[in-house]
């Protein structure tokens, strides 16, 4: 099985540790991983801003980069959801279609494809899990509080395998953090207020780390935490699942 | 082209390909005692519920609860000693303005939400259950059905000029979500579950 590793542009640029952890984690689980060097962006920033019609070139590029793999895995629910919902290609329609069916967000790849039931990881800290909306409501990584349906949480399932980790409860289990792509600057006031409220929920429950399957939410919350001069850190879930702290 | 024709033509042009009407599935209802469920829900939304064996018993309770009531009206002849029981439908509804207590009958009740179904034929006039300060409704415990679907099954295609489901006293929470009973309609609702003799 060969997995094409898709690293979202802003993770590549700002959060290489999340990407490295994803790669190492997959390798440790015996997966052959290739990172196509010519990748850039999935096109989501344009599409969510109403410019989906400008994403043809990044779509074609995405297809060229990833069509050959058995699976494509990315440490971002949001980017994966975008590809699943919106990747189209006039040049390679069949390949684009195939990619939409074989792209996975990291968590669901671990739980659903690799069926991971134990991890060699240790992270002895109090951790708050932020349910990023696109992963949760879009990819159904966890049950949503709005629905009357069986409870489950793929990220919690994995975090429970991490030695020493204490998962904190939140008052609002799955409220949006307010990042929202260009929303974070176009609607700055509401975006920041949402972020502050989300962060406060984690702080109130004494989280030492806030984690999520999407770095974008964490980048937003980190910006707020650091402005508040808080010691609480954000960390991508891949880094925790790959952690070997003593 | 009249507005009617214009709207209908525009709708007909733009409506999607016809999709069949779904069957209403059989929804699950609690196995628990219907009267008990009805009572719990009714009390939860501010109604008072009494199980009584006779209208006389209901009368005693009401007279105790609503001592101050000056004008009482009812559709039950059994209340004729304390209430006006023969109001003709042609009466001006505005004359109901000073009714303190109305004692009326309901066709059926719904356990899931404690709503009681009343139609015009059970009312002295339409405004009665709304304009009175306090309302009492009498229903048979055998007429308590589990869900709204069962209620509409029972109602079927029956004709009426006006019908209403009443669940609890009139209420509002429009000021800071603080619940206040007695918005424009009755301040209290008393429900009598009258065992049939």
């Amino acid at each position: 099985m060969t997995v094409g590793l898709f690293i979202p542009c802003y993770v590549d640029q700002f959060y290489p540790n999340a990407a490295i952890a994803t790669l190492e984690l997959l390798e440790k689980l015996g997966v052959q991983v290739v990172y196509p060097l010519k990748q850039t962006c999935c096109g989501q920033p344009m599409a969510n801003s109403g410019y989906e019609h400008l994403t043809h070139e990044s779509n074609e590029l995405f297809v060229k980069n990833f069509k050959e793999f058995d699976y494509i895995v990315a440490p971002s629910g949001s980017c994966v959801l975008h590809i699943k919902d919106h990747l189209h290609s006039d040049k390679y329609p069949a390949e684009a279609n195939a990619i939409r069916g074989k792209i996975y967000e990291l968590i669901e790849f671990l739980t659903d494809v690799l069926k991971v039931d134990k991890l060699k990881a240790r992270f002895p800290h109090k951790v708050g899990l932020h349910q990023s909306c696109h992963g949760q409501r879009g990819l159904r990584l966890a049950q949503m509080t709005e629905l009357v349906a069986r409870d489950f949480s793929k990220p919690e399932q994995l975090l429970s395998m991490v030695d020493g980790l204490e998962l904190i409860e939140l008052t609002r289990k799955d409220e949006c953090c307010g990042f929202g792509g260009t929303f974070c600057v176009a609607e700055e006031a509401v975006s920041v207020k949402m972020g502050k409220d989300r962060v406060a929920d984690h702080l109130q429950h004494e989280a030492e780390y806030i984690t999520a399957a999407d770095m974008s939410c964490l980048m937003h919350m980190e910006g707020i935490l650091r402005r508040q001069k808080s010691n609480v850190k954000v960390m991508h879930i891949a880094e925790i699942l790959n952690a070997q702290e003593i | 082209m009249s507005s009617r024709e214009q709207i209908l033509a525009s709708v007909a042009k733009n409506q999607p390909i016809p999709v069949a009407l779904p069957e209403i599935p059989i929804f699950s209802s609690e196995k628990s005692d219907l009267v008990e469920k009805f009572t719990t829900v009714a009390v939860g939304i501010g109604s008072k519920v009494f199980r009584v064996n006779s209208l006389k018993e209901a009368k005693q309770i009401l007279l105790k609860e609503h001592k101050a009531s000056k004008r009482i009206i009812s559709t039950f002849p059994q209340f004729s000693d304390v209430a006006e029981v023969s109001i003709v439908p042609s009466t001006d509804p505005h004359t109901m303005e000073d009714v303190d207590l109305a004692i009326l009958e309901a066709h059926l009740g719904v356990a899931e939400n404690s709503a009681l179904w009343v139609t015009e034929e059970l009312l002295p006039m339409r405004v009665t259950p709304f304009i009175c300060q306090h309302l009492a409704l009498v229903v048979s415990p055998k007429a308590i059905l589990p869900l709204m679907h069962h209620a509409y099954e029972q109602i079927g295609m029956k004709d009426y000029g006006f019908g209403v489901f009443i669940a609890g006293p009139s209420k509002t929470a429009d000021i800071e979500q603080s619940l206040v009973l007695g918005a424009h309609g009755p301040r209290t609702l008393t429900i009598f579950l009258l065992e049939e003799q």
């Binding site: 542009c9 802003y10 640029q13 700002f14 990172y35 344009m46 969510n48 801003s49 109403g50 410019y51 019609h53 400008l54 070139e57 990044s58 590029l61 909306c133 696109h134 409501r137 409220e175 929202g180 600057v185 006031a189 509401v190 910006g223 707020i224 402005r227 | 009617r4 709207i7 525009s10 709708v11 007909a12 733009n14 999607p16 999709v19 069949a20 009407l21 209403i24 599935p25 929804f27 939304i45 042609s90 509804p93 505005h94 719904v110 939400n113 709503a115 339409r126 405004v127 304009i131 006006f162 019908g163 209403v164 209420k171 509002t172 929470a173 429009d174 000021i175 603080s178 918005a183 424009h184």
Partner: protein, 456 residues
Amino acid sequence: MSELKDHAALAENFNADELRVNWHDETLWFIRQKRDRSAHAIPDWELLRETASQIKHNVLSNLSEYLEQFEANAKANGVIVHWAVDAREHNQIVHGILKKHGVKEMVKSKSMLTEECHLNDYLAENGIEVIDSDLGERIVQLAKEPPSHIVLPSIHKKKEEVGELFHKHLGTAPGVSDPQVLTETARQHLREKFLTRRAALTGVNFAIAETGEFVVCTNEGNADMGAHLADVHIASMGIEKLIPQRKHLGVFLRLLARSATGQPITTYSSHFKKPRKGHEMHLVLVDNGRSIHLGREDFRNSLKCIRCGACMNTCPVYRRSGGHSYHNAVAGPIGAILAPNFDMKKAADLPFASTLCGSCSNVCPVKIDIHNQLYKWRQVIVQEGYADSKKTLGMKAMTQTFASPATFRLAGKAGRWFMRNVPLAVSNKLNPWYKQREMPVPPKESFGEWYRKNRK
């Protein structure tokens, strides 16, 4: 409220008072929680939603037939049926009925449609006074404001502010803010109106094609107090409010109040079928853009809406920006997908007032894919040329960089490309990201650079 300000600017004003935002957010979240408890008490809630959604799909796909069926049955019941192509015609019809009866004062129960049509203003210009009888609507009417929520019109008002309004207009003692006392004051004030007004207008929650009756749901009893005391009852409804059969009310009435406020049902679900003897009952069927909306394949599902307001209560943006920031009769997520149909230019900002978190679609009792429609409206608004030209230029630049791996790579020693090209990037006051958030710290190398060193 300035027409020129968009949602972001109005929301920023709203956020100037953070404690108030907290209060607004908590109040609405409380309702969302009540909705959750209520929904979770119904084991087949999701099946109920699905059934409602399918019934509404059937309605939309046979709407012209149902409208004719409804009209025929309503007429047979003695109801006078009118058709209004747009808001203006609706207002004229209502005015005509009132004029015919020499009515100068009318009570009105909640009707978002009349808000949409600006009926009160129209009638006021024609010398007719309208008293809104729903407590929340009366409060905003006294404050000379539009409702900020379709179910809870004065949810943005604190009780002290209501107290001040009542002191000024209804003569309560200064400083009174107890909701119990204020509600009692409104009860007495409005009772006098109910008893003296000869015409009453109500909205319509559901109209039944099979029987020609219509259902109005209230908790206060104001629709009934108005309609049963007045000589003339006028009911205004959008053409999408139809449902096929009476038994379908079983589905919708189970969903409506639970979704709206968490109540198992509203206090009153009044079924109006025939006028009182010797009195008139009018029904105005209003299109006002709905039939055009029906033709928009991607957006027609929004006509399934039963106006419960659940999407507003759950929306993290609505809760923190307030209903007035949507500058539209219907606020929140549902308002943001309905408004562009009526006026795309004026509503161009609304589909962007969302993070696309998707919570709205999950609470919607008729399963409207609200967040997907928000996404789709964004595409339409940009394509139709209603986007800011600066934004378009920025997006084009971004697209070019992403389309070329070489440019992307060149762009970055880690972080540098972002710092230059993404609008959130510069650490100064002009950068909206930096205003209240720190910038991410650029690492010493990007993942791409690390990978080349460590894996290839």
